[in-house]
Each structure stands twice: as C-alpha cells, then as structure tokens.
C-alpha cells in the first residue's frame, strides 16, 4: 500500500549508504507516485490508491462506513474509512462484534445521530465507538510515535477551526493576506 511503503522511506531506515535514498527510492516508487509525493499529495489524495478488496471485507467496510456515518455527523471519505477499517481489522472478531452491536443499538433506538444512541451503549461498545471517532479525527488509529497515518489534510481534527486556523504546511491565505479578525466560537464551520 502506498502509505505504508512511503512511510517506510524513513531516513532512520537508511543503511550505511552515503547517498541517502536516490537509488532505492527510484526502485521502489513509480514515477507517478514520486510526482504525487513531490507536490505533497500523498496524504491529501486518499483516492490515489485502491487496494483489491475481498467481498467479505467490502461488506465489513460498508458496515464500518454506515456506523461511522452514525457516529460522526459529517461528510466522510470512503477511502479513509477503508484505511481505518483495515487498521482496526487486525483485531478482527472484536471489531466485527463492536460494529454489529453498535449498528443494532442505533437501529433499535432509531438513531439518526450519535447522540441518539451513544449514551445507551455498553462500556465496551462506547470504547470501540470512541476509537473509531478518534481515528477519523486524528487521522491515526492509535496515536503513537510509530503509528501509520490514515489521513492528514482530511483528518477531522482540523475541521472545527478550518475557518481560522491553517493546517500546518497548507495555506488558507495568500501573501500577507491574513489579519487579526477573530470570529466567534459559535460560528462552527460546516464539514
């Protein structure tokens, strides 16, 4: 997968080669991916890569997305959802069980939004739900130094302040185009 391959291109991984990457880099990456990375689009373009998905996985991905849409009242990117689901599936049985339990609870309570059913979930289901929500917001399933990033630009953590705050390395302004205007807290962006 692109992200994992790219992540592994860490300078820590370099051996004693005096030239830190050019040779290996050209072998491991296609021209298209190198160009995409060169303009900083790898994390920003989740649809760049689609991995082959088995039918059962696709079924689970669909259920994961259905649950995610109930847990998070925002537009969600399907490719990022697939990445999160792939990370969560490493603990396969509990992951499936939690999805089933939370979807059933939402269905039983005729929930339209997370507030309709989350308070009534078991502690285990709540923990699973919070883990899913956290992954969508932080762009990482487990926030640890070596974690694989599933989203940066589209991580939801940047959205509630996107009317004011820059996503670091991106720009929402123009040369000297920013100022001291301070919008109120109540003006929550739509996302």
């Amino acid at each position: 997968m692109l992200l994992s391959a790219f992540w592994s291109f860490g300078l820590k991984d370099c051996d004693s080669s005096a030239d830190i990457g050019a040779a290996r880099f050209s072998i491991r990456f296609t021209r298209r991916l190198v160009l995409a990375a060169a303009v900083g689009l790898v994390a920003a373009q989740p649809r760049l890569v689609r991995s082959a998905v088995a039918p059962d996985d696709r079924f689970m991905d669909d259920r994961f997305m259905a649950l995610s849409r109930l847990l998070i009242p925002h537009n969600l990117d399907a490719e990022i959802g697939r990445r999160i689901a792939a990370e969560l599936k490493t603990d396969r049985a509990p992951f499936r069980d939690h999805i089933d339990a939370l979807l059933k609870l939402a269905h039983d309570r005729r929930a339209a939004v997370v507030e309709d059913f989350f308070p009534f979930a078991s502690d285990q289901s709540k923990a699973a739900a919070l883990r899913i929500i956290s992954a969508w917001y932080l762009g990482v399933v487990d926030d640890a130094p070596d974690a694989k990033i599933v989203a940066y630009e589209l991580a939801l953590m940047f959205k509630p302040t996107s009317d004011v705050m820059t996503i670091p390395t991106y720009s929402i302004s123009r040369p000297n185009g920013w100022g001291a205007t301070s919008p109120p807290l109540s003006s929550m962006p739509t996302f």
Partner: protein, 545 residues
Amino acid sequence: MSQAESADIVVVGTGVVGCLIAEQLLDAGHSVLMLEAGPRVERWQIVEKYRNLAPITTTNLDAAYPPTRWAPFLDSTSPLTAVDYLQLEGPNARAYRQDYVRYAGGSTWHWAGICWRLTPEDMRLKSLYGVGRDWAFDYATLEPYYTRVEQALGVCGPSDPELQWPPIRSKPYPMGRLPFGPGEQKFTDAAARLGLKNLPAAQARNSGVAYDGRPPCCGNNSCIPVCPIGAKYDAASSLPRIEAKGGKILVNAVVYRVEAGAANQVQAVHYFDPDKQSHRVTGKLFVIACNGIETPKLLLMSADTRNPRGVANSSDQVGRNMMDQPKLVAELTLAEPAWTGVGPVQGSSIMQTSQGDFRREHAGALFRFNNMARSRLGAIQALNKGLVGKALDAEIRRLSACTAELTIEHELLPDPNNRLTLSDKKDALGIPKPNIYYDVGAYVRKSAESYSTPLVKQLAREMGATDVKVTTEFTNSDHIMGGMIMGANPADSVVDVDCRAHDHPNLFLPGGGAMTTAGCGNSTLTMAALALKAADAMVAQLTHA
C-alpha cells in the same frame, strides 16, 4: 586513509554560517569545499515526513528529521532516545536538550526565522551592569554586518522606528513587516494596556513579495519544522547556488579531527564516511561552523602534542560559557478566543523587558505569543474527554481557540562552569558524545522568581485568562552560544574579533559559539553577522597572502 579533496577554503558545516561564508569566498574567486556530517534531502521529503507523523509526535519538532546512524543528534522520539546523544548533567540538565539538525542546510531547516539584533547594551554587560563580559567591539562595529545579513537572508521588518529593535539602523529592512494574526494582536493589545510594546519581529521570511528567488510567505504555519514553500530563509536553499558558483559540497562526511601542523597552522581536517573510512582534506583556510555544540566537541577531540587541551584551546575556554536563553512557558485558558495558527509560528516579542538597570541583579527576559496552530492539541484533549457529536466539535473549537501559550526567554550570563567536555560514551563511528554541565544560575532564577513569572501572569490576566499555569523547570530555546567565546585577550577567549582562533591564524570558528553574551533574542542574526565579518577577514587574509 585517502587524500580526498583540497580547496582554498574548507568549510565544515552547511548551516547559515557556513553557507554565507562559502558564498562570499566563492564570489571573491576562491575555491570552496563544504563538508556536512549528515545527509542532503529535498524539501518535499521533509514535508511529506511531517504530514505522516502521528499527532502525538508533533510536539517533537525534530521528528521530521530522523538522525542518521553516522551523524547523531538529539532525538526526542521517546524519553530514552532523548538522552542517548547529548550527555547532560548539572542542576538544569534538562534545559540544555538542544534541538539541532545534522542535515545539509543545518538547523535553518527548522528555525523560526526570527532575526533580532543585540542592543548596544547587550554587548556591554560588564561595563554597564558589572556582570558577564563586554564584547571586544561595539554595536556600531557590528551594525553594518547586521544590515548585510538582513539583505542576504531576506529579513522583513517594520519601517517605523518605534517598532524596530533596536531602532539603530543604517538601512531599512529589505521588506516590510508581516501582519499579525488574532492571537498576536490580542497579546499586543494586552501588553499595551500594561505599558509594554509587543514588537513585530524581524523575520527571514518573505513578506508580501518574492525575494532572492523564494516566494512570499503564505502563512502555512509550519516554519518549525519546515517551510513547505521556501518562503523562510533556510540554508538548504543556498546550497544549489553555492554549487552553481563552483563550490563543492560533500555530505555524510563526519569531520572528526582538525590537524594542526607547523607554526600551529591548520593543514587538514579528517572525516569519516558512513563506513568509517577516513579521508583527509587540505586547504589554506579552515572554517568550523557546525554549531555551538559540535564545533567545540570537534576542537576538543583534535588534541595533539602541541595542543594538549584541544585545538584552539590554549585558553582552556573551548566548550566553556555554554549559553542559551533558558525558557519558561505559561499555559493559558481564556474566556474568549485568542486563535493561534494564523500566519507564521512566531511573529513578535516584547523586547523592552530585556533591558534595564535591573540587569545588575537579575536577567532580563523577552515575552512572546506562541502562534503554532493548536487544533491538534485541542482535538486530542477533547477526544480524551470522551465527547461525541456536536459536543466534540464544539470542545475542539473551544480548546483550540481559547487556549494559548506565552513563552519567556531569559538572558543567561557566560559562565565557564557551564561546560562541554567529551563523554566516555561514543557514537556509532566511535566519536565521543558531547557531555554538558548546565546551571542557569542565580541570575536567571532570580529573574524567573521576581520578574518574569509575575509579569507573564499579569500579561495572561490582561489577555483574559481564567487559568494560568507557568512552568517552573527551564527548557531549551535551541540558541546554542558561547563555546568558542570571542575576546581580545587570548588568555580568556578562543577567537578574536574576526572569529579567528587566537591559536591558529588560518582557523575560523564563527557562529553562536563565538558570541560573548547572549541577549534575550534569537541568536541567528548575530551568528550570521559574525560569519560575514569573518568572511571579510578571510578574503583579506587570502589577498594579503
């Protein structure tokens, strides 16, 4: 061992100091060879690395620059890695965890770009206040070099003398000031109500216009750890130009010995490649500019029978007087939004608080608003509360907007007891790791207790803080100074007024290590000014030769 290379001028280090000198010597028609311990990478690689960091690691500002095996530096990935390279001891060991990068381009990759000058008073501490040392020359001598550096790096700043620091200038800044975001404006307004002036910082960041082939700043708010568009000066952007002028840059070349010969002239430096094959490089003049820690380390490692305490160290001052600006941080919770993350990560400071007759008794300090976007911190904290739905979004927005950080940076006096020595521990190439004893001293502690901490609390209250927590443990500001201290007397200093080693007529040691006093402001502009002064001396020396 192989005889690898030779040049008129051999420059060890490819940061701002090395690059400015290399370019000036090339312009004067001399051959230049630069040696860099670390690798050379492209900007997009660092940007990509940074974007693929877990949010929890974003407080580790070096995480996008993993050290190579052969050119280690402080790695803050974990508490264990953080203590692996720099061996620190003393009452304030934690405060000397200096972040620097051993990559081509040096630490300018992740500097904030702030370009404060010293004041005339900062250079006369001994005669005015009876503390520290006096510089061997005055502000008027340094001023033309400040001006040249501002032109060379592309420093923006205010045209109004009332907003300049200090307002003693021979030429205007090449570009006007950058605007404030809401947070810095709120801080400025609060300071004004207390009778203090928060000044727009002089910054090596293109303001509104392109400069020197680099684009204008667009407020990407990642100056630390990397400007993704190259609007901020970094030495990496100088390297292609140096090569175009005929300079040669060898990377992954870890210099481990300075070789002195007849009449104590330096005649070569020796470096290891990553496979520990040794190479010898000869030249006419040698510049060691690999920062205030690595340079004194290299000099001490180079001891020989003629220089038993290390090269350039007849005074026993190499590695002593290690300085920084010990930092404290105030965390604020505010009733109303301050908003961070609009514009560069730093853009202003209160400087007048660094000056005054109180310097007889305690250190001065600067105060600044930290403008790094707090959205990630807000999200992490809100998620930890177990919130969902609209409550989660609202709390992320509140925590991001209504929390802020004020930073205090204190002036530290040169103290020979704050000393770098060679550790018994070795790195992967068998090179000793630096060992540093560090005590911020009573001068700084008294300032923190009676002056800076009370004042930052006042500033916080004036900003509308409902809660203020001020750290009590000093931390590093990454402004490494003092280890090759400048002075007129060879008995108590390492370099002369041109950063030439007193002991070696063809060895130059410019940069922060040569600074006699530290001031409260970021050290880069002074380091760079000393580099140009040294470069003038080198050109003259070669001409006369």
